[in-house]
Amino acid sequence: MVEPFVLWRRLVGAQIRSQLQYRASFVLDLAGSFLISFVDFLAVLVIFHNVPRLGEWSVEEVAFLYALSSISFAVTDLAIGHLDQFPQKIRDGNFDILLVRPRGSLYQVIASDFQLRRLGKAAQGLLVLGYALAALHVDWDPGRVAMLVVMIPAGVVLFSSVWVIGACLSFWTTDGGEFTNAFTYGGAFMAQYPIDIYGTWLRRFLCYIVPLGFVCYFPALYILDKRDPLGLPRFLEFSSPFVALLAALVAGTIWRGAVRHYRSAGG
């Protein structure tokens, strides 16, 4: 179990060394991603400048949701954001190089890059989280701390699963990056807001189809000790790690099917 992780660190370390070769470009990208993500949060503040509450949610609570979603999204983006260039790997045949190495294909694709320059968004998420926690007066107990610690990895796994499933599409289309982005970036955007503000159709989509609602909404209800405005069963508050695991299994299965298709249809 440890060896693949050690190798992952080595491979990712190599990518980071590569990126640092172009220092100026790296610093600019980092600063850019930090600034752009603030514009993103500005949108939240603009909404609350016009309305005092968003459904049942105050600005601090939405900031809390926003921050947790941002952090999970940013960590995913760091680790596997390069999957949006995966169609290119299929097209130029570089995926074949991975297939003649004695490692799993998904593992190698994930370990093939690391977008350190997207660290800016994670930093912004942490700042917003700091602001939200300072303003919110959460009644911390071991359960809530545990939830906060677990929900971010669970969120990363959920986001990652959606990413991987999106990348699988390119085995058939050898392109289609934009379609995938609608789910990955679009889903991430929607997970930043409480899902009870959306219409039924969109809400169901975020719970059952692309389960990004589980990234923040349900765990946040628990941490903030809020009654679910939707009146959904309380056990859902603890469901995100399980949903994450299930999503990962589904993503893994789809990946295997996609690679099998690729190998029998021949890139």
């Binding site: 590569s18 190089i97 297939l99 190998r263 021949g266």
Partner: protein
């Protein structure tokens, strides 16, 4: 080492803009051959003949449509990962090295990907550094290497885990004469000294002629030649060329058993078949010879003939 029986691979291609129709294309059709351990085999064919498709099936990248493949005792498509430890592959036009990092870093990463024990790794690397003269650029980022240097790096990368079988796709493409020769010498070395079986896909007939004992030729997905190179010459182009330099320019010589192909001043090219001794004697009897040489049939010429008329 490789056992291929009735191997076929067909692809479904969709053509047309509005009403897309499905067409089934046979990239490889009913291919059968065997490769013994320690062979250095050439695999030749025009673009789109099915070479890459075959290599992809042998390395486990593609699953065959029908037929049977065994490589190193394994079914490649089912046991891809296991097979990957035992084979090496180098695609001349793709980069498996880490572009922005020093060459040595790529070797280190591959050592961990393949789980090569440290002592074995050090020993192999030491040998490659010497044979391929890697030291001058071992710490240079791959993107700054010349093509020849990069290919030497790629070769090392595909051999560090000591594979029994090496697949090479166009290893000498784009190299200058010196670099080409270096790669060829190296391939002979690993084949002879270390018994690595090599399957060489190439357009470069020089590679084939200097390296391979045996040649497979594929066209339109079908095997059209499997045999030794001298036999190929015998069968498709037994004609040799006698090139004579006469004392002074002369009209084309009329010699029994030979036809003059070309005249250039005092030099004449005579195409002939059979032993050269008698012919030379006859030429010497009818004209004053200054010098002569015999040219063996050119494999390029032969292959062109096979491609254009496979039914011979």
């Amino acid at each position: 080492m490789i056992d291929v029986e009735h191997l076929s691979k067909s692809f479904v291609v969709r053509r047309g803009k509005l009403r897309r129709q499905r067409h089934v294309v046979d990239a490889v059709a009913d291919l059968s051959f065997r490769v013994e351990r320690g062979e250095l085999l050439g695999y030749l064919g025009p673009n789109g003949a099915g070479k890459s498709t075959t290599i992809k099936m042998l390395t486990g990248i593609l699953v065959p449509s029908s037929g049977r493949v065994t490589v190193a005792g394994l079914d490649p498509s089912r046991r891809r990962i296991e097979l990957a430890r035992r084979i090496g592959a180098m695609f001349g036009q793709r980069v498996q090295l880490w572009w922005d990092l020093p060459l040595i870093d790529s070797f280190e990463l591959l050592r961990h990907i393949y789980k090569v024990p440290a002592d074995r790794y050090q020993a192999s690397l030491a040998r490659f550094r010497e044979v391929l003269d890697l030291d001058p650029f071992l710490h240079t980022p791959v993107r700054q290497l010349s093509l020849g240097q990069r290919i030497r790096g790629e070769l090392t990368a595909s051999l560090l885990h000591e594979p029994e079988l090496l697949f090479l796709d166009e290893p000498t493409i784009g190299l200058d004469v010196v670099a080409k020769q270096r790669v060829r010498d190296f391939l002979v070395e690993i084949n002879r000294e270390r018994g690595v079986t090599v399957l060489l896909t190439t357009h470069d007939l020089g590679d084939i002629e200097r390296l391979c004992d045996r040649l497979l030729v594929i066209d339109h997905g079908r095997l059209i030649w499997d045999g030794r190179i001298p036999d190929l010459k015998e069968r498709y182009g037994a004609d040799r060329m006698l090139i004579v330099d006469l004392e002074r320019p002369a009209p084309p010589l009329e010699i029994e058993g030979a036809t003059v192909e070309r005249v250039d001043g005092p030099r004449q090219w005579l195409r002939f078949r059979g032993p050269a001794a008698e012919l030379t004697a006859r030429v010497a009897a009818s004209a004053r010879l200054v010098d002569l040489q015999i040219a063996e049939p050119d494999i390029e010429e032969i292959v062109r003939r096979i491609y254009s008329n496979p039914a011979i």
